[in-house]
Subunit: 243 residues, 4 copies
Amino acid sequence: MAKQLNVTIWNEFRHEKTNPEVTEIYPNGIHQAIGKGITGDVNITYAVLDDPEHGLTEEVLNGTDVLLWWGHMAHGDVQDEIVERVHNRVLQGMGLIVLHSGHFSKIFKKLMGTSCDLKWREAGEKERLWVVNPGHPIAAGIGEYIELEQEEMYGEHFDIPQPDELVFVSWFEGGEVFRSGCCYTRGNGKVFYFRPGHETHPTYYNADVRKVISNAVQWAAPVDREYPRYGHVPVSIEPIKAK
Amino acid sequence: MAKQLNVTIWNEFRHEKTNPEVTEIYPNGIHQAIGKGITGDVNITYAVLDDPEHGLTEEVLNGTDVLLWWGHMAHGDVQDEIVERVHNRVLQGMGLIVLHSGHFSKIFKKLMGTSCDLKWREAGEKERLWVVNPGHPIAAGIGEYIELEQEEMYGEHFDIPQPDELVFVSWFEGGEVFRSGCCYTRGNGKVFYFRPGHETHPTYYNADVRKVISNAVQWAAPVDREYPRYGHVPVSIEPIKAK
Amino acid sequence: MAKQLNVTIWNEFRHEKTNPEVTEIYPNGIHQAIGKGITGDVNITYAVLDDPEHGLTEEVLNGTDVLLWWGHMAHGDVQDEIVERVHNRVLQGMGLIVLHSGHFSKIFKKLMGTSCDLKWREAGEKERLWVVNPGHPIAAGIGEYIELEQEEMYGEHFDIPQPDELVFVSWFEGGEVFRSGCCYTRGNGKVFYFRPGHETHPTYYNADVRKVISNAVQWAAPVDREYPRYGHVPVSIEPIKAK
Amino acid sequence: MAKQLNVTIWNEFRHEKTNPEVTEIYPNGIHQAIGKGITGDVNITYAVLDDPEHGLTEEVLNGTDVLLWWGHMAHGDVQDEIVERVHNRVLQGMGLIVLHSGHFSKIFKKLMGTSCDLKWREAGEKERLWVVNPGHPIAAGIGEYIELEQEEMYGEHFDIPQPDELVFVSWFEGGEVFRSGCCYTRGNGKVFYFRPGHETHPTYYNADVRKVISNAVQWAAPVDREYPRYGHVPVSIEPIKAK
């Protein structure tokens, strides 16, 4: 419970280098802004797309308790081999927090088994994320809702499996709703999808957004337990009668 | 996360006084045996049916983070007013762990909304509780299964709402299965039902059973958050157009 | 599948007698308007609060496949004994569709085990119910959303157990969201809560609302199957070894 | 509801050609035995691995309401392109029923997002599938349990996402349990995994197994509804204020 968590924040880190509007908001990259907001006893490492092996070597992943993922314009540049590696680690127990446009990342689609498609609009409209599961640890310390003055809209239908637990539902000024905080278990690992975080808005400086991400890191921490044994078990526990 | 939890263990405490077989196994009551097995930073209080207000005064309940409940032969003696009080506290956020024959307690039936009926047989048969959700915090430190040499059998159909999360499924020597570890959220509170613990077997001395209960106490801890506002909200957040 | 369903529509039928605004919209009662909208091979019976036994005699209930429930100002006038009777029938397999302010009915609260509280506002504002589960039979024939020009607002947090299946989420003009179409199984019976239907708006004449209710009637139909056996089963299926 | 369903039964069809023990039980292939057992208003087509495009052309799939899948020794021979095609059809609304060793098929793993691994043993042991969701349409007409005198054992942990609905849990003579009837929604399509059906046992002639498969075909039928629109929606439904 109280042990220090190793958190790796992965960012595509492309918009920040090419779009001055984004650079101004996130001069050190979205990953750094996210990292600055995570409270609790955590040891943070950063990894970006252009690092060797995208910064996600076997060693890094094996030492990661919870991985955060932000990607958008370059999902296709992520190597399939690295996606397999992350997938295996999630099944082994590593937590994964997928942020905003990461809904279309290879790793999220692979874990969900669906298209993960949705509606979207960039109009700088108001978003209000309502808490629909007030006893959930990811909602700790959050009021009735989180209000973001300007965000990109994501609208239903969001093509994901029904969440094991739904924590937030968004209201958008333009008339849509969205399941914005979605919990899943995949293998031994926990997965949380959190909607807000468009690159042209300062969302990751918002105190509530930071609180949610900090809560999610704790919630997604691996459970201390031996990995299950699978495969052939020729000897039965109980005797089997001849027939 | 790391804060001390106030745990109240409630026991009917009748079998131990009238059945020598039970007295021998649990000389100080089932509640004391359960309490001795709970690890972690907890402050334990005991309450029994014959205490004034069943030991569950407003003060005790308001100071309880997680309540454990063992009852069997005297469910009907629990006053409805106290059941209401416990129910309210669960909706406010208090965790509740219902053990074994507590499936037929007034409070569990009230929280579930179903009959909570099941099949049963006292034959001292073998039970094996398989972990079906290996990443769940309640399964931390538990192997592939928990084996109990002798237990009462509970068999399906168990008339409960589909659990939000199913952690254990029992195999019984006599041929039945049972959903043995079931998680629910009700209001702001978390509820865990854990099957084993017949009064004539030393189940609450079993190290794995104790580990599961200790894990469940941590899992069921209240989340630090203001209680939601309900009722009339005459003023809207956004303007409403005249029609 | 193709067999005729016996549908009983229960209505409190009080507003229609005392509030001219409601009488004008529903001159024959809300129940009649609902009944007129149900398509498919159904045999419809009406029952109201002021009927003997609220119109819900053992005979009526035993012959009912799916019961619809509209109540608001007189929840307290429903006798506990009749609530028990309806509850038993749901556990036996009868479908139950709870409409709008029925969220606070005794039967819904008993089946849910929570307060079923929510936020509300009567401002004649726009509601848009988005389909979030497009493959669900209750959403058959419905477009991306249902739009209601004027409705009472119900807002989160809605204090219900997490739905087994969530079909609709509402957007409200005033800034709130709501889980508006919620499926549950309780015992052998299926329960569907559907939000819209305030008495001062002509909601039950809306073609989409009628389609949803018609779909829900089919979905909630009982399954042809013997009721499970519960209780003592002294003889085991498999031999139990002496220990 | 009452419309005829187009059902395609896909079988690997290899064991039947190479293992005389299997040939004797299923002389015309497992697919034919499954097909003979499906009741209701269905139009059945068969497709096997060695057919051109595995018998799953665009035309065949577009005309299929529900696809059944049996595979085991040749999962790797199924072309990725065909798997993509089936996956797309499921997301569009086609039902999919995955049988027994199909748990390791490419299509099931792709839809689940997990390893779908499990424990197994071929010892001709007894299996008893208990109904844990008696109100579910897939359990219609089934008694308390289905008993199979001899089957291959599959044991937990079964590495699947938590089922949206769990209908059967198996007891095995050798001491294991298994979640044997698992319902999912993926996109607009419904997926049912049903455990029994090892090729060396006459499981698909069992009346209860046939009843479950027939029920599942009806349950998995597509819902008549337009496919959701996804992607860019530049124009909002409601006006967005300048900020």
